[in-house]
């Protein structure tokens, strides 16, 4: 019913506009086409000026309304993010100036040089000096931007420092899984044909590789990182291309099946600090999948906690390598527990006797 109503209204609006347009054409023919053409010209020239002024006010208003919702420059939670923000600032200033100048000229010229019987257009087919000027100036400005950009780019994409902790991130439709290398600091080898959820091997770890025996598998909960400690993420995918998007750290990298990728950065603010700084007690770091990966793409979410080394250690110590889930008999705790039970039984038995 409501839809019908809207459709009828739309149709009516349509018809009315059309009738007005048609009538205005008849009127213009009757009044003399030349006269109404001139009038139209004046109106549109004026509107172009209004559009310029209104548009600039709109740009300002838009920034007032939405400026607070974006990631503030300087709010970046990683060292690399500071570089990204700086580059953003440089670019914003340069393009902002160019934007205001060129748009103003465009609409101002349109208004100022609207047709008039008293003026003749100026025959001005070319001018080498002008053309050289506006080839050279953009070239110089762009060189500056490329220079800054590449300076930061090489810093961000450089080798991870030796003391960086390593976390492996694996995407699949539509979840994230993490793996920590354990005490030996080495991620054990994997082969995708070994992947078997039912057998406690969701990542396809090769159990022959001893480096795998202490690797910690984490899924369905936060990834934990240590504040001010560089971290290198080794990124994989099991099925289609995903992307590890870390907006607060200003980092991003695709997860490509068959071709592992990596990024590194140093988180500089704990989750707790961010909560305070952003005045948002609910704040969490989120991992968004940024590469279209199927129907659940928009909900492929992971979360990160950044904490102090002690907090991290406390969390880590409670974790067990996946190896022991796959081979419970190898688990020293289980062995100990088993041994304990045997002992208790042994201890109890004689008493009973």
């Amino acid at each position: 019913m409501q839809t019908l109503f809207i459709v009828v209204i739309l149709l009516l609006g349509f018809l009315i506009t059309f009738q007005i347009a048609k009538a205005s054409e008849y009127v213009s023919v009757m009044r003399g086409e030349e006269k109404s053409r001139k009038q139209n010209n004046r109106i549109n020239a004026f509107l172009l000026l209004v559009f310029l002024i209104g548009g600039m006010i709109g740009v300002y208003y838009c920034n007032e309304r939405l400026g607070g919702k974006i990631l503030q420059m300087g709010s970046s939670a990683s060292d690399h993010g500071v570089d990204v923000d700086m580059m953003m600032k440089i670019t914003l200033i340069i393009t902002g100036i160019v934007f205001v100048i060129t748009q103003t000229l465009l609409f101002w010229f349109s208004y100022k040089y609207q047709a008039s019987d008293t003026r003749k257009a100026f025959y001005f087919p070319h001018n080498n000096k002008l053309e050289v000027i506006w080839t050279v100036i953009p070239a110089i400005v762009l060189t500056v931007m490329v220079g800054f950009g590449l300076f930061y780019w090489f810093r961000i994409t450089s080798e991870a420092p030796g003391n960086a902790m390593v976390v492996e991130v694996t995407g699949s439709q539509f979840k994230w899984e993490f793996r920590y290398p354990g005490k030996d600091k080495i991620l054990g080898k994997k082969y995708f044909k070994e992947i078997n959820e039912a057998n406690n091997n969701p990542l396809g770890q090769l159990w022959d590789d001893p480096a795998n025996h202490d690797d910690i598998y984490v899924s369905g909960e936060d990834m934990h990182l240590v504040v001010n400690k560089p971290v290198k993420l080794v990124i994989n995918s099991k099925d289609v291309i995903h992307d590890v998007g870390l907006a607060q750290f200003r980092m991003k990298m695709d997860a490509v099946p068959g071709t592992p990728t990596s990024i590194w950065f140093t988180p500089t603010k704990t989750t707790l600090q961010m909560k305070k700084e952003m005045n948002d007690p609910e704040f969490v770091y989120e991992i968004s999948c940024d590469q279209m990966c199927g129907k659940g793409h928009f909900s492929m979410r992971g979360t990160i906690v950044v904490e102090t080394q002690e907090e991290f250690d406390r969390w880590m110590v409670a974790k067990k390598p996946k190896y022991y889930a796959a081979f419970p008999e190898k688990d020293p705790d289980a062995m100990k527990a088993k041994a304990d039970t045997v002992k208790t039984i042994a201890a109890v038995m004689p008493q009973k006797k």
Binding site: F51, K69, I70, L106, A115, P125, L150, K238, Q248, K295
Partner: protein, 605 residues
Amino acid sequence: MSNEAIMHGHANVISHDDVHHDEHHAHHHQSFITKYIFSQDHKTIGKQFLITGIIWGVIGGLFSVLFRLQLGFPDQTFPILETFFGHWAKGGVIQPEFYYALVTIHGTVLVFFVLTAGLSGTFANLLIPLQIGARDMASPFLNMLSYWFFFIASVIMFASLFVHTGPAAGGWTIYPPLSALHEAGDGSKIGMDLWLISMALFIVSSLLGGLNYITTILNMRTKGMSMTRMPLTMWAILFTAILGVLSFPVLLSGAILLLFDRNLGTSFYLSDIVVNGHILPNEGGSAILFQHLFWFLGHPEVYIILLPAMGMVSEILSVNSRKPIFGYMAMIGSLFAICILAFLVWAHHMFVTGLNPFLGSVFVLLTLLIAVPSAIKVFNWLTTLWKGNIRFTPGMLFAIGFVSLFISGGLTGLFLGNSTIDIHLHDTKFVVAHFHIVMGVASMFGMFAGIYHWFPKMFGRYLNNTLGYIHFWVTIIGAYLIFWPMHYEGLAGVPRRYLDLRGWHNFNKFDDLNKMITIVSMIVFAMQLMFIFNFFYSIFKGRKVRTQNPWGSNTLEWTTPINPGHGNWVGEIPEVHRWAYDYSKDGRDFIPQTEPIGADESKDH
């Protein structure tokens, strides 16, 4: 049929006054079918491209309104959608598969069918022979085939909308493995095969057309029409065709390899995959390879869309400012530079795919380099307006709007082209805002400008002016309202292709904005329907054109009869004596290209 034959066939037809032209055609055994359907007349083929493009425009636009409903009102239900789309909109809620199918077809159709076929196809066909002084294209028959391949491609794409598992839904960039694996989702089933087949045919169409455009421009110019006397529209279309001919085959090969991977068990793009618990045997392929192939076309493609619009805008700005285009040679030079550089920047779409950082830096340099010719063009357009005597026809307004949008969208390109910033902005809404402004809306504006300007030549009637003005103002205001604030979402990190932000703590704060955008896009869409109504109404009922050269233009198309027949000129093709831009020279409003240089004319040019 060779061109000679057409010329001869016409010499006897065109001996009477042109008012009765159509009837004469009828006499000379032009049946309805050969005149309007399997026509070899470039003007008719141009109109066929245009009308097919308009139909796709309506479909693509309607899809955007539908998915905007979801984005603007994620918590509301629209039972009417279920009535129309059944299980795709169960309970009146757009399902994720449906959303992604809509977005994918929207992108594909607007990029390829509307702004490539509909734009180049229309204006290359219509304008090349008319502006260079030829009776028709070099091969009218191939030209006809070009349209019919496009038509078959359209039919297949349209059919894919109705298959049970729906059309392709991996985004218009169809990255494998998502698009390669049937198990990866409904949108990767038969719909994806149809998409690939349709695109393959589309590419054939575009190659046939492109080769024809190049040959015609190079070989069939009338006497005196040297390359540097051609209007800029011709230069732009020439470069567009060259770009297309060199880059589309690469996409074709990419698409064929993808078809193989999908159906024949090859591993070009596949390696190390476990999908839905199935371990696939493929090893050794590279998913990134496809992206290289895709973007080797994909980036030139954005210029294939943009260049014809630039050419038409240059022409229209000059005619309506009553001034020569400023820096004609620089305009050609910058077109040429853009054309070369367009092939050397494709990996700027791939900065975060694990690309070697050094390689990335080379692409940063080349990408920002392309801003130089773009800047030259903008400054030259501005100078063309300076001290003009400007008439604001609807075509002119759209041309001015084009320049404004091109500036806005070009500047955001400087953010994305700089890999450091792109790390943060890649695949966010910022990108969506950028490419819509610079490519989508800007080229649409170029196309509208062209339609308003050459409608009198196409149909011998005018579009309704008042509706034209309303169309312009609603569209430009709407376009900025839709896409300007969208940058802010991107700056907040909101990824693109997200249909619901409610599950995200850091992204879920743009409710009002998304509602506003949705409402505005509905209004803008309704306005386009109004334009289309104006278009078809005016073909039959528009005000008649009574003068041969209504805009006071120098170019050759306005020396043909008001309703030119097949063959364009009655009698001899006119000879050209000067460039196309002698406006306001020596105190004369305009001097047509056909007028010999006067003895006392000032020397400039």
